[in-house]
Amino acid sequence: MAAVATGRWLRFRCKLWLTLMGQRAGPCGQAPSCRFYSGSATIPKVEGTNITGIEEVVIPKKKTWDKVAVLQALASTVNRDATAAPYAFQDDPFLIPTSSVESRSFLLAKKSGENAAKFIINSHPKYFQKDIAEPHIPCLMPEYFEPQIEDISEAALRERIKLKKVKASVDMFDQLLQAGTAISLETSNSLLDLLCYYGDKEPSTDYHFQQSEKSEELEEAAEENNKKSEKADHQFGVTWRTKNNAERIFALMPEKNSHSYCTMIRGMVKHRAPARALNLYTELLNNRLHADVYTFNALIEATALSVSEKLEDKWNNILELLKQMAAQKVKPNLQTFNTILKCLQRFHTFGRLPALQTFREMKAIGIEPSLATYHYIIQLFYHHENPSKGSSLIIYDIMNELTGQKFSPKDPDDDMFFQSAMKACSFLRDLELAYQVHGLLNTGDNWKFIGPDHRRNFYYSKFFSLVCLMEQIDVTLKWYKDLIPSVFFPRSQTLIDLLQALDVANRLEVIPQIWKDSKEYGHTFHNVLKEEILMLMARDKHSPELQVAFADCAADIKSTYESQDGRQTAPEWPANSLNYVAVLFLRAGRTQEAWKMLGLFKKHNKIPGNELLNEFMDSAKASNSPAQAIEIVKLASAFSLPICESLTQRVMADFAINQEQKEALGNLTSLTSDSDTDSDSDINEGK
């Protein structure tokens, strides 16, 4: 990705250079006299020639540049700095986040500081009134949130609606009705708009933050709940109480036009009361009014939301609605088709054919599909896939069509495209396709569609795992340096994938570096990762320098285990880790520490492995100390390991031990053999 960008930059630079050279000189070697020529390099210049053969000078059309054109040109020469943290954070090692949890908490902290400051400014606006900026900067002036007009009038009602105060405007409306004032249809409609949009609740301050998260959860919940039947309406997210203020005011209005009905229908659908919305729609038809395209979109969604109907019936209802829409001469827009596809997405396999039909219809009418359209199609075909059956190839067609296109935001769900595309790539295990998707992300301004933090993390995790799986190790490491940590923080699964890729490519010397990085990204106390690292290091013997590096890394991991012990009450050294660490110490020649490890086995009540004991025996032989050898045998017998026998024999054979040591050994073995013979005799007796 970085290579492509550099290539683009080089080409841009070469083009600049060439145009400059073309303007400044004729063919090389001759004196430039561009004053007399219009820049054509083919006319040869001869000294003293009469300059009569000049062609007509063509003055190019004046270009109008954007105000920020220079900045944009400069920005296009700079690539993303892979070593920098996102600019929202302060550029200081202490203040740069090291994990995705931290980055989210820092951004939230910054935002809450901003909210606190805004609260102060808006509570005391009189201190911030002095306007010394020329021209006026509206966003730096305090905002007014309290209604100014105090008397009971329609203007006051309109002001409260503008300030989005739900309860205050309803109260004002009631007061006006009691006073007997007639309220115009416009104002009543705008009041209905306010109530239906916010569902009769006050808009909360972090409305927009919560809105998208809640709607996603509701989506997933609704999908699961479509399988069950009755209670879906009441369990999840029905926020439209019957007889709430909106309905009451709607009933009180003396005259209603189509706008009123449309607003009510859209509000009901937004707050999950689809049945009432459909009823209201029939009422609208009875009053011989027309609905607009947005209302039809809401109705389509309502049809899909209504439960206890079969999928074919729902699809037929949607088709009915579309026919009515055509009869009322309402032109569908992009949202219509996207809503249809969103509903079809919930129908899973049944919805595939209708989805393709819808897509073709959309193209036939001439509506340009947005990223959300493709997202729904991908979800339909790849979401609940069974790998044993064949997968559809539709994503290849989609990517072929989309390559090189630049998108602008048209639908709120546009930012889910890249996540679902990468999920499908990862499912299909196709690296070329993933590169294509990534190329699309880097075209023009499409990077804006990557979505919020968790979606970006998901996308890059899947992408990097696929790269680890399928790409050569050098390219993988380049991606690693490029993406981590400036773009996303790796989860432990990603790091384990990377380790396995290193294992396959036999580049285990990078492992200590990976461990250092993992500590930075907050995986210090992640046991699975540490075991994986230790296992890979301890599996085979390597060259001496590498062993030393591995031993240092193992010592580091050991210290993390120890600090972890200090914090928890129940110590948690896995047996495998103890084995691996001891082996690594032995192989690097750090015998002192290795012997201390043996003590730890006893302390944590874990059993050392057979190969470990053999290696200890080898090292004891190398250092020619029979005392150590006997230590090992004592340890083995303390754990009552079956290997004790062979160890004893080996000690007898290889070492020069004196008589008392032999007796001690004999005692040990007799103990163990006694228990063996006892058990043998038991078995014999049992037979």
């Binding site: 954070f89 302060q90 550029d91 200081d92 090692p93 202490f94 203040l95 986040p97 931290e102 908490s105 820092f106 951004l107 902290a109 910054k110 935002k111 809450s112 500081g113 901003e114 606190a116 400051a117 805004k118 102060i120 400014i121 911030f128 002095k130 306007d131 010394i132 900026a133 900067i137 730096l140 002036m141 305090p142």
Partner: protein, 172 residues
């Protein structure tokens, strides 16, 4: 005159308790706040002592070293020929210094450096690592958003953290 040991006056940029905060004296672009009645010891830098006081580089050099060994605390073009608003900018500087001192209670004794670039105000500060990092971000977001409508210009905060007060020279 009573011999006033300047160890309290050393950090004279802080106000010194109730009722004794005097007028501001500006020496060479740096603010020092102390009662006018006290003898002005330590005005031209820190008195030479036995070498047991640790001072920062800024404090060790007196005002005579400005533009020789030290830079200025506030950088703006208001004092050039033909430019105006020097006085308003000085008042803004004073306010900003005190504001930062109050908002970040763990600021170093080093004053903040204020730079005015085009329309933007940049405040650079050295802070100790006394608070957890997310609290720093909260204070940064708060200060930037509060000061921008105050001065009707974008205010930008650049923090640099150090583990402890950076000692410039130990000879004082």
């Amino acid at each position: 005159h009573p011999a006033v040991v300047p160890s309290g006056l050393l950090l004279g940029r802080r106000c010194r308790g109730q009722g004794r905060e005097g007028t501001l004296a500006w020496v060479g672009g740096h603010a020092e706040s102390r009662p006018l009645s006290a003898p002005r010891t330590g005005l031209l830098g820190v008195r030479v002592g036995k070498g047991d006081k640790s001072v920062t580089y800024e404090e060790a050099h007196g005002p005579r070293y400005i533009a020789h060994h030290k830079g200025r605390l506030s950088l703006h073009t208001g004092n050039l020929y033909g430019e105006d608003h020097a006085a308003e900018q000085m008042v803004e500087d004073v306010f900003l210094q005190k504001f930062m001192l109050g908002t970040f209670p763990v600021c170093l004794s080093d004053p903040r450096i204020l730079k005015r670039r085009a329309h933007q105000l940049e405040v650079s500060a050295l802070v100790l690592r006394q608070l957890p990092a997310h609290k720093f971000h909260l204070l940064v977001g708060y200060s930037e958003t509060l000061l921008s409508p105050c001065y009707k210009r974008p205010v930008c905060l650049h923090l640099q953290t150090v583990p402890s007060k950076v000692v410039g020279s130990l000879y004082k």
